[in-house]
């Protein structure tokens, strides 16, 4: 009888302990916020090139995107063309991007559209830097959330000298140059 009682009491303590432990952890940390993702702030980026090599993924989860509505559609696009290239065309020798990830498409005189093939982009920021200096700064880097494994401590975050990386709420997983004036929507299917 006394033996049984003892075991019961132990069990009771164990369950209380477990409940208290879970409860305490929960109170201390739980349910305070929605999950977060890493994202880089293009306004702080200094195009140092660390994103290429410091992401735990190879190639990097950081890709360049072109924000079309602030792109100048320049004929002479410094983000696209190698400085001092003889012709303004899409010859391989004229391209700045080391992986030829940017596609130049004629729209109407004198405008060209620059589309980035993200599967080829390695996030080296060469185009970003040039576009920012000479152009509108419509090219910039973002962590692609479908590729990023959201590592606990983003390994670029700790090597980025410009303090670009921070955790953003899941509902706003991208940071655009024009700030929160952007809304993300699935396109109307046509």
């Amino acid at each position: 009888m006394s033996e049984r009682k003892k075991i019961d009491r132990r069990d009771f303590m164990r369950f209380t302990g477990a409940a208290a432990f879970t409860g305490a952890t929960w109170m201390a940390v739980g349910e305070k916020a929605e999950a977060k993702y890493w994202q880089l702030d293009p306004a702080k980026c200094t195009q140092c090139g660390q994103c290429t090599t410091h992401c735990v993924l190879n190639p990097s989860a950081v890709k360049c995107l072109n924000q079309f509505d602030i792109c100048g559609y320049c004929d002479l696009c410094f983000g696209y063309l190698q400085p001092g290239s003889r012709d303004l065309d899409s010859g391989a020798e004229n391209q700045l991007c080391p992986t030829a990830a940017i596609e130049r498409k004629y729209i109407e005189a004198p405008y060209y559209e620059y589309k980035i093939h993200e599967d080829k982009c390695i996030g080296c920021a060469k185009c970003v830097k040039a576009c920012l200096i000479f152009g509108n700064g419509s090219f910039y880097l973002q962590i692609r959330q479908d590729i990023c494994i959201n590592c606990n401590e983003c390994s670029i975050a700790k090597s980025c000298p410009s303090d670009c990386f921070s955790e953003v709420p899941q509902s706003q997983p991208y940071m655009f140059l024009t700030g929160d004036t952007y809304l993300a929507h699935p396109p109307a299917l046509s």
Binding site: A35, T46, V56, L65, D69, I70, P161, P173, L183, P187
Partner: protein
């Protein structure tokens, strides 16, 4: 949570406000032809760290518990290990694992503006709860770090228990440092120096890959070196496991003392029956315990003092402190060559050196308190271990040590006692 579950084919973004935050050198053109500006493609997150992953963790823990207690199948455990390695390791790329979640939880406790999602809390709590009831079944075959080591431990040798104890202090130091790092904002040490994630992700960080290969190579002969000497989460699991209601037993029914299992455990986790002379003459041990208990407070104070004095080197784990030191050296002309990216970026950013040094000083202050607490914690642990060494528990059979046994089941096949014999 508003995670878009179904993958959305494409997402577009368009400007709502006309107020541009940035200055445009060239106005975007008004096209004359029928040209539609393309949508900005922003792929939604792929749904990592979601509830179903916590569910898989729960399932794996339950299955392992069954394998340890009912099926008593070393083979089954091996199978789950392979699964864990593939799923938690290679598929989820080891992120976020329960071992690392310790830091997320610590961050949410210590830092006012940090929160964690309930899935990460579940990752942290589930293995600990299982440990409280069933011993370290998480370590047995669910932990992807442990699984990798378990699979390479082919020719394990036994090391002396004394060496085991000394090296085993490593995990307490690591846990202390990791929490100190989180609390002071220096970063997540456990993730940074996790040797296994390099292998899961097979990336090209060569130095770390070599370190990982080395640990695994050692692991062929000294089984589970990370688990035994470094794993910070293992400390918590061990504490929980001490109080476990059920724990793996080597013989399924009463032990016949054949001593066959004696050598089977490569982790020094099997306790021998207490030698008779110790049981019969406890006086000496008691005296030693009294002395140790008496000395412990002094020892803890010394530990705190030692930790306090270590604050300078400890604080270098914080990037702001190391940057401030570098800048100070550059300013005094001691370092002349450029090329430190952090320092160079600081130069162009326009923050003053004085600001940086002030920040660094404030951080060092935190490390004084933190260092003292760390020192006291380690001294406390060492005192407890010493006292434990002198406590004589009367054991008549061979049994796994509740705290250190990984429930790996290696000892099962050695035991000749049959179920229900």
């Amino acid at each position: 949570m508003r995670t878009p579950v179904a993958p959305i084919a494409a997402a577009a973004a368009f400007l709502v406000s006309t107020a541009h935050a940035i200055e445009l050198k060239f106005a975007p053109p008004d096209f004359e032809t029928e040209y539609a500006m393309p949508y900005l493609f922003i792929p939604p997150p792929d749904g990592r760290n979601t509830w179903w992953e916590a569910l898989i963790l729960f399932g794996a823990l339950s299955l392992t518990t069954w394998l340890v207690f009912k099926a008593r199948s070393r083979r089954g455990l091996f199978g789950v290990s392979v699964f864990s390695l593939l799923f938690f390791g290679f598929y989820r790329q080891g992120c976020i694992c329960p071992v690392g979640s310790t830091q997320n939880v610590a961050a949410a406790i210590f830092l006012p503006d940090v929160a964690v999602s309930w899935i990460i809390v579940a990752f942290f709590v589930l293995p600990l709860l299982f440990s409280l009831f069933f011993g370290r079944v998480f370590c047995a075959s669910v932990c992807p770090l442990g699984a990798m080591q378990e699979l390479v431990a082919i020719a394990p040798i036994r090391i002396s228990p004394a060496l085991e104890r000394v090296l085993g202090l490593g995990k307490y130091i690591y846990l202390g440092l990791a929490i100190l790092g989180v609390a002071t904002g220096a970063g997540f040490l456990i993730c940074r120096y996790d040797p296994f994630v390099r292998l899961y992700r097979l990336n090209d960080n060569f130095g770390m890959l070599i370190a990982a290969a080395l640990i695994l190579l050692i692991g062929v002969f000294i089984a589970r070196p990370y688990c035994r000497f470094l794993c910070p989460y293992g400390v918590l699991l061990g504490w929980m496991s001490r109080f476990s209601k059920f724990h793996l037993q080597i013989p399924p029914s009463p032990c016949v003392e054949c001593r066959l299992c004696e050598d089977s455990c490569p982790y020094n986790a099997i306790d021998m029956p207490t030698p008779r002379h110790l049981v019969e003459d406890p006086a000496q041990g008691k005296k030693r315990i009294r002395g140790l208990v008496f000395l412990a407070p002094v020892f803890i104070l010394l530990g705190a003092l030692g930790g306090y004095m270590m604050y300078e080197p400890l604080s270098r784990m914080h990037p702001t402190v190391s940057l401030s030191e570098r800048i100070a050296l550059e300013d005094r002309g001691i370092i002349t060559e450029r090329g430190n990216l952090q320092a160079d970026t600081f130069r162009v950013e326009g923050k003053t050196a004085a600001q940086l040094h002030a920040e660094s000083l404030a951080i060092k202050e935190q490390f004084k308190t933190g260092g003292a607490l760390l020192g006291a914690f380690l001294a406390l642990i060492i005192s407890i271990k010493l006292i434990e060494l002198s406590v004589i528990k009367k054991r008549t059979i061979f049994e796994p040590h509740k705290e250190t046994c990984f429930s790996c089941g290696r000892c099962y096949p050695y035991c000749p006692v049959e179920e229900g014999a």
